[in-house]
Symmetry: C2
Subunit: 414 residues, 2 copies
């Protein structure tokens, strides 16, 4: 089935689910959760094919772990669907209502985006996690995962499609693209006739390819070159704990810390403290000349790319700066607009940092690892937007809606 | 000056205006209005050069009229700036504030988009009208108008830059791109490092070029293939008045009507009524076979492109349909998502139309011509969005903002 056919079917299905009741959409989530559990043997068999092929192709152990499903992970996907059921209807929202002097009644009301395309990489969990968020908010979704997970994804897609039909919704509310070629991905990115929004989820390379090639409106997600600035006034023990947590609690995720900026006036005292803590996890440091002068040759010299790129690993770039202004300038230059932190006891510096840093999440005295829909109290998220159009930061079901104006008159002309 | 240099300067300026006070931004609007009036002779001289060149190149009278400035139009631009001064600060908004169980205080606060690029066509008024909306909302703006208006635009840009400096804001909050080449336009559309959002304003060709070429997040505006469906239950005189107004009050604008859909059960009675009214303005009709059978050969046969494209002229496509379902299907197929109307006395059909039509503005018993920031009571608009990401319908100053999360802690780690 080609992408245009899938797109046309998804668009038609979106017209049905877009006006469906909350009860019907919640019934679909329940049916999906039930079917995932009931058909776990099928899912594991399909995933087994993917794993066998991946092993044959020499996939690394950590990538194999991302690809692998088991009963616990299947239950996790089902649980994700079930947890959305009590969530308030994102479509049950009137943003504004007014009667104009000429008698026109204008209502600004939440509606679904329509058809959402999601392009992602290895983890098959995303197939369900992303789909249920789209369905709860009344959208049809077209899913294109990595080729490594194709058997798992097609199986999960079929299970969701059957579940949708069992509650009277069109199966085409969920489509898994069976063609894993790059051409199919490009075709999906340019399917403006049928796709309303594209959300890529994955590494910097995937995001960049979508930004470059997509003509469909796109939400950039998840590239996080996150900084923590240790101000002259910082509680240095707090700063070391925050950096240790932000760097090492889960280095592979987008809200992990990548660069520490340290005020020169506390660098001599702070850097050895920080290093001792990071040594517990064997974190490699790459530093500017001033950092190396303090810590010695155990710190590798940092190159330009060390400031610019995400390590997503047990590596931290370290730069000594001449105060808040240099820290702000460095962040303005290298930040991807995800999460940035300051550790300070100085209220004025905290206020300037909050005001001047241009990022989705700006922290004072806390770890950047909190940038997450669940941690913010907004529930499950489809991604963390690092752009400014539409949604910024963690995107929950509310971000999968738009609005329309309903205008009721009795013959008004202009 | 090349586009990258302009972009870098705009980005730097955006950091200053983005944290400036409402008083400063309002002072800038006042200074711009004053300077436009004080320096009108300069503006008219620059505009005179553009007009002379345009005449030499054989520009049509209607295009010359769009290009021409005079004291009244200059006062109109100044007035546009002054009218924004009393408007509430779009940055003075907290969308959400919460304290999490772990003590983190999270504030979701409005902030400017940053740097907005606007690509537009002949009318030099847009240079000021768009810039003042961006400035009021704390953004820097890069303006690229049509080559026909380059002298006018550069002059207006210089006047605004001086006015900005006079109130202590960076001149680079407003830049007019002096290079009118297509290459410069493409460079601006792909300047992701410095431009946060691109808003094209102009005809379908310009919008399509931006959608195709831009890698910067883009808001599509202003393509309006608008329909009016005359339901079986319609008050036929009301329907004729609404169609007459929507088609003829200003055919060149995006909220003008392009296609009338008429329920077959009232077509014989209604079509002659509608035609008589439209004949007053010599509106050309292009119809389906059933419409032609009723009205005769004075109605030209409609081709596929007549259903799909905007006429922006005294031409109306007419189709007889077998009721609401066919009308909804036709609109779903050909609508550009701008403004769609039904004329009906049937509450159920009205409700279905409002619910099922996927467009920025959906009307019952009123002219599509009301889709306008001023008519909605939202004030001046930078354009009418026909996409679903970020803003939909008339975009006022609030739509030129995004938000960020400010997170304040006392050492929280995850």
């Amino acid at each position: 089935m080609d992408i245009r056919t899938i797109g046309a079917a998804a668009k038609a299905a979106s017209r049905t689910i877009g006006v469906s009741s909350l009860e019907t959409r919640n019934a679909a989530l329940q049916a999906i959760a039930d079917a995932l559990k009931a058909r776990s043997a099928e899912i594991l068999a399909a995933n087994g094919k993917d794993l066998a092929a991946a092993k044959e192709n020499g996939m690394s152990a950590s990538m194999l772990d991302r690809l692998a499903l088991n009963e616990a992970r299947i239950n996790g996907m089902a649980q994700g669907a079930l947890e959305l059921i009590p969530a308030a209807d994102p479509l049950d929202r009137v943003y504004d209502e007014r009667v104009r002097p000429n008698g026109l009644k204008i209502t600004k009301k939440a509606v679904p985006l329509g058809v959402i395309a999601i392009i992602y990489e290895a983890r098959p969990n995303v197939t369900v996690d992303a789909a249920v968020l789209c369905l709860k908010s009344g959208n049809a979704v077209i899913l294109k995962g990595g080729k490594e997970a194709i058997n798992s994804n097609v199986c999960l897609g079929e299970i969701m499609r059957s579940a949708l039909e069992s509650v009277g919704l069109p199966a085409d509310c969920v489509s898994v693209v069976p063609d894993t070629s790059r051409e199919a991905a490009t075709a999906l990115m340019t399917l403006n006739e049928y796709v309303d929004v594209l959300i890529p989820r994955g590494g910097a390379g995937l995001i960049a390819a979508c930004v470059k090639n997509a003509t469909v409106p796109t939400i950039e997600t998840g590239t996080g070159n996150c900084h923590c600035f240790v101000d002259a006034s910082a509680d240095l023990n707090m700063a070391a704990e925050i950096i240790y947590n932000a760097k090492t609690s889960r280095p592979s995720v987008c809200n992990a810390l990548e660069t520490a900026l340290v005020d020169v006036s506390v660098a001599e005292e702070f850097l050895p403290l920080m290093k001792a803590r990071l040594d517990e996890k064997n974190v490699e440091l790459r530093g500017c000349e001033r950092a190396r002068a303090i810590l010695g040759d155990c710190v590798k010299p940092a190159s330009e790319s060390d400031w610019a790129n995400e390590f997503l690993d047990y590596i931290l770039a370290v730069k000594v700066v001449d105060g808040l202004d240099e820290a702000l300038a460095h962040i303005a230059r290298y930040s991807t607009g995800h999460s940035e932190a300051i550790v300070t006891e100085n209220a004025e510096n905290a206020a300037r940092f909050l005001r001047e840093v241009d990022a989705a999440a700006v922290y004072v005295n806390a770890s950047t690892r909190f940038t997450d829909g669940g941690e913010f109290g907004y529930g499950a998220e489809i991604g963390i937007s690092t752009q400014k159009l539409h949604a910024r930061g963690p995107m929950g079901i509310d971000c999968l809606t738009t609005y329309k104006y309903l205008i009721e008159g009795n013959g008004q002309v202009r």
